[in-house]
């Protein structure tokens, strides 16, 4: 589960921290799994959900290929 600082579209949006880390959702991913991978603790998925509320309305609904901020 590799992070990058390349935002969706490749250009850092205005007001976005250029050092924000991004992760592209892979088949079979859940926020819990992503949190477990990056933080060691799946219960911290809420941190990822909070950081992506501009694109996520439900933590259970993420799409393959979607780019998520990993704060």
């Amino acid at each position: 589960m590799e992070e990058s600082n390349t935002p969706p579209g490749g250009t850092t949006p205005a007001g976005e921290n250029p050092y924000t880390q991004w992760y592209e959702v892979q088949p079979g991913d859940t926020l819990w799994k992503i949190a477990k991978e990056h933080y060691g603790d799946g219960n911290l998925y809420t941190e990822i959900f909070k950081a992506n509320q501009d694109t996520l309305s439900d933590p259970d609904k993420i799409k393959v290929g979607q780019k998520l901020r990993i704060p």
Binding site: E3, N5, N17, Y19, T20, Q21, Y39, G40, L44, E47
Partner: protein, 207 residues
């Protein structure tokens, strides 16, 4: 008739002797004039060749002409041209000193400009980089177990490095506020080094 011839011969010899004496009288002053010019050029030193090479070349070229005149025994010509050339030669040291000073000031200004540009770049990027690291450290501090690619010792080291980086960043800003851009950039470079190391240890990408 014989007396007139003898007199004419004697007069010629006297005139020749007078001409020779006159030349001999001018030779030493001409020699000294050339030596004075050479001494003035020498006094300008290496700075002249480094900072005012064209001016130096003009003077040494004229000196070569003067020496050629001397070799041709044109002492009068040497003495006529020498004062103006001596003035030029004596001006070399001052001109070289002024040109050196101007070059040094330009170098200082260029160095300061480069430091200001580096500061602008670092001060624009570092707060965001440190904030991104702090965010990750804060979340990892809540984790019951660190991720597989991060052990406790490395995480402790990242936290210590982040604390140091923030302290250095305060120092950098204080130095900048007091006008010491050199110290500000030196501290900011250390912040950048620590921030890059922290990001690498956390598996974050700096760009």
């Amino acid at each position: 008739m014989k007396h007139r011839s003898l007199f004419t011969g004697f007069l010629s010899m006297v005139l020749a002797a007078l001409v020779l004496a006159g030349c001999a009288n001018q030779m030493e002053p001409a020699k000294k004039a050339i030596a004075d010019i050479e001494a003035a050029i020498s006094a300008a030193g290496a700075d002249a060749s480094q900072y005012i090479p064209d001016q130096l070349q003009a003077v040494t070229g004229q000196l070569a002409d003067l020496k050629a005149k001397f070799d041709q025994k044109d002492y009068k010509g040497v003495l006529a041209a020498a004062p103006a050339l001596l003035t030029q030669a004596q001006g070399l040291a001052g001109a070289a000193s002024s040109a050196k000073q101007a070059a040094e000031e330009a170098a200082r200004a260029a160095a300061l400009e480069a430091l200001n540009a580096e500061w602008a770049s670092l001060s624009g990027a570092l707060p965001a980089q440190v904030a991104a690291i702090q965010s990750r450290v804060d979340i990892l501090s809540k984790s019951k177990k660190l991720p597989a690619n991060l052990d406790q010792a490395t995480f402790d080291s990242v936290q210590a490095g982040l604390t140091e980086a923030k302290g250095l960043w305060d120092q950098a800003n204080a130095a900048q506020a007091s006008g010491n851009v050199e110290a500000a950039v030196a501290a900011a470079r250390q912040v950048k080094e620590k921030a890059d190391a922290a990001m690498a240890a956390l598996g974050m990408t700096a760009g």
